[in-house]
């Protein structure tokens, strides 16, 4: 009797979770369906027109998405690489050195955690202009090159590495950088993975800051390109083209997520929690 009830509850939960899953997927299904079928005057949830790649082709030619892809990749990779270095050094310092003024550093880190960068667009825009870096890729990256989240995350992992390991390496004649590289970084691999996932998805998806500081197509990101396209609606029956453009920009990250879903979700949790 009890067993049956438990089983029934289990089935109910499964059913409910599947129904909700379908509800959650609805916009994506519609998006993909509309992007990949011929345009029609009337929007329908499930496509009624035949399959086509014309929308994708049209949008790809109408908007320099190839260039935007390249820009975005350069930005994402560049930002991550520099963050990688700055955060590793800073995290190592905060994990193993005791010195005066450290508390101040934690205050700065804390400030960055509670104040999202988007909020500071006005003063940061002015600073960037004064540096002469308006409309440059470096300008888009600059505010993110010191990442409090990454420092915190890495510091936490470095601290779990037994001190003896590091000391042993030092005795073997390794210098500071070699010690970090050979001992600490391999131990903190999961932390680096999380930080990579967060950094890449953040910068792939970021919009407001690149919108403000880039103007030329040679620096525009995918998100900015999509927004210009979606707002101008150059084409007539816009939704299939806008959907096609949207699909073009979300596809890489979404695919990566579907493949590495566990890694993604764990990364978001560890980044959020350890912020």
């Amino acid at each position: 009797m009890k067993m049956n009830r438990k089983k029934a509850v289990g089935v109910l939960i499964t059913l409910l979770s599947i129904v909700l899953g379908v509800v959650w997927l609805t916009p994506l299904i519609w998006l993909v369906g509309t992007a990949l079928t011929e345009t029609s005057f009337h929007m329908t949830f499930l496509p009624t027109t035949p399959f086509t790649l014309d929308n994708i082709k049209y949008v790809w030619n109408a908007v320099p998405f190839g260039q935007y892809y390249l820009n975005t990749i350069i930005l994402v990779v560049g930002t991550f690489c520099i963050q990688f270095v700055t955060s590793t050094l800073a995290a190592y310092s905060l994990a193993f050195y005791k010195f005066k003024g450290q508390a101040l550093v934690f205050i700065v880190i804390f400030m960055q955690i509670i104040i999202p960068n988007d909020v500071l667009i006005i003063p940061n825009f002015m600073t960037l202009s004064e540096l002469g870096l308006y409309d440059t890729k470096l300008g888009v990256m600059l505010p993110f090159l010191g990442s409090a989240m990454a420092i915190f995350l890495l510091r936490q992992h470095f601290k779990t590495v037994p001190k003896a390991l590091g000391e042993a390496a030092m005795i073997d004649g390794a210098n500071l950088w070699q010690t970090i590289w050979r001992v600490y970084m391999p131990c903190a691999k999961p932390a680096y993975m999380s930080f990579a996932v967060i950094s890449v998805s953040y910068h792939w998806n970021n919009y407001l800051w690149p919108l403000i500081v880039t103007k030329s197509p040679t620096n525009r990101t995918l998100t900015v390109g999509l927004a210009i396209f979606a707002k101008s609606k150059e084409a007539n029956m816009q939704w299939s083209n806008v959907c096609a453009a949207t699909l073009i920009i979300i596809a890489p990250l979404l695919l990566a997520f579907f493949i590495l879903q566990r890694q993604f979700m764990d990364s978001f949790v560890s980044a959020g929690v350890k912020e």
Binding site: Y134, K215, K231, S232
Partner: protein, 425 residues
């Protein structure tokens, strides 16, 4: 030894001269596109033609979104110290452009150019009006438009209306609208989103005013939003939506309206001539173009973009930019541009070209905008134009969504607008 140095020096000089020749002057231009179709591709093509003809100059045309986005882009680029050399922006931005010293007055360039004055004189007066700030020319008319009415002739036939007699007055608009409205179709369509409502409203204000002055004074320092005639005009919009129910309630987007028209969901729409080519290419039914129906008199807003040259660029760059502007506005180019987009050709001489004559013969709908120009006046143009637009748009929206009455909304707009202009009195 001396000889060798001499030769080397000469070589270096020759080389640097050669590179100077090989390396054309790089100019950047920002431009917006606010209509359907492929205007962006046309501007790219025009730029390429110019670059081919002028090997010493290379213009890089950067598409920066719609008008609003382009204004923002120009402002932040100038503030960001990375200004374009020239740009296309709304004619209504000229007071702001002059006031903030973003754009330069063009008088000296025109005076220095032997053909300068003839060039300017050839522009249609109605458009050239939109170029002066305190007597100086700040911009050159380019993608200029006016509002016309597009109507679905098939729908007219279907309900027993004469397809060649579109409405000529507000009363007829209502009368025809009532006939054309059914379950699947509205009679009238107007775009009321921010950035569009103020344009259409300029037209209604001009049609209804009694003194020939619509919304503002010519110097851009006074506004007259709350006159009884303007309240009446706004009330007419509300009546179209709520009393007669021949227009969609709420706020239809500028970019959605042509789509609705093409889909047969709206029978008569108020839209820019800049959309003519787009509608012509995509309409699956017989359509007509006509004057905006008159109130007390005919009236229509002009709008669209002008060329500006950025303040503070070198003289060499000014000259190159001026050359480019003249190229784009040459009679033949301006005529072709008008045919390709539906924008109104900006110069009198355009209308004497075979190109445009033949075009009008084959496609008479295109001529309507030109004929209507005699009744047209500039759209809302003041100092701090972007903010002023927002004020009028917000308050019109407040009336449309039922938050305020027409009178309250325009009173509020007047009050906020006067506060904004206080700095310039």
């Amino acid at each position: 030894m001396k000889k060798l140095v001499g030769t080397l020096l000469a070589l270096v000089m020759v080389l640097s001269l050669m590179t100077a020749v090989a390396e054309p002057l790089q100019l950047t231009m920002y431009f917006p596109v606010n209509v359907g179709g492929s205007a962006a591709a046309l501007i790219d093509a025009m730029t390429q033609d110019f670059n081919a003809e002028n090997p010493d100059i290379h213009v890089d045309a950067v598409y920066t979104g719609n008008y609003d986005d382009t204004v923002t882009a120009i402002q932040s680029a100038i503030q960001g110290g990375n200004a374009p050399d020239l740009f296309v922006s709304l004619a209504t931005q000229r007071f702001t452009m002059a006031d903030t010293k973003m754009a330069m007055p063009l008088d000296d360039l025109i005076a220095a150019d032997p053909e300068g004055q003839t060039f300017i004189d050839d522009f249609i007066d109605g458009f050239m009006l939109d170029s002066y700030v305190d007597g100086s020319i700040y911009s050159i008319p380019f993608q200029r438009s006016t509002m016309v009415m597009y109507y679905n002739k098939d729908a007219f036939r279907e309900v027993g209306l004469d397809p060649d007699a579109p409405p000529t007055t507000w009363d007829e608009l209502v009368e025809y609208g009532l006939k054309l409205t059914n379950e699947n179709r509205k009679g009238v369509g107007l775009a009321l989103n921010s950035g569009s409502a103020q344009w259409a409203f300029t037209g209604f204000s001009l049609q209804n005013c009694t003194n020939g002055v619509g919304l503002m004074s010519a110097d851009g320092k006074q506004i007259y939003f709350n006159t009884p005639e303007n309240v009446e005009a706004l009330q007419f919009w509300l009546d179209l939506q709520n009393k007669y129910e021949i227009m969609n309630k709420g706020i239809v987007q500028w970019t959605d309206l042509p789509t609705q028209f093409l889909a047969g969901e709206v029978a008569m729409i108020y839209h820019t001539t800049g959309n003519l080519t787009n509608i012509k290419n995509n309409a699956t039914f017989d359509f007509g173009v006509c004057f905006l129906p008159a109130g007390r008199q005919w009236g229509a807003p002009t709008g669209g973009g002008n060329f500006y040259i950025t303040n503070g660029i070198s003289e060499e760059r000014q000259q190159a930019a001026w050359k480019f502007i003249k190229f784009c506005c040459s009679t033949e180019r301006a005529a072709q541009w008008s045919i390709d987009t539906g924008y109104v050709a900006t110069r009198e001489s355009c209308y004497e070209t075979e190109l445009l004559k033949n075009y009008y013969a084959s496609f008479p709908q295109a001529l309507v905008a030109y004929e209507q120009l005699q009744y047209a006046q500039p759209e809302l143009t003041t100092y701090s134009a972007a903010e002023m637009w927002r004020i009028l748009n917000d308050n019109i929206q407040a009336a449309v969504t039922g938050e305020m009455t027409a009178e309250e909304a325009l009173e509020a707009a007047q009050e906020q607008g006067e506060e904004l202009l206080a700095d310039y009195q």
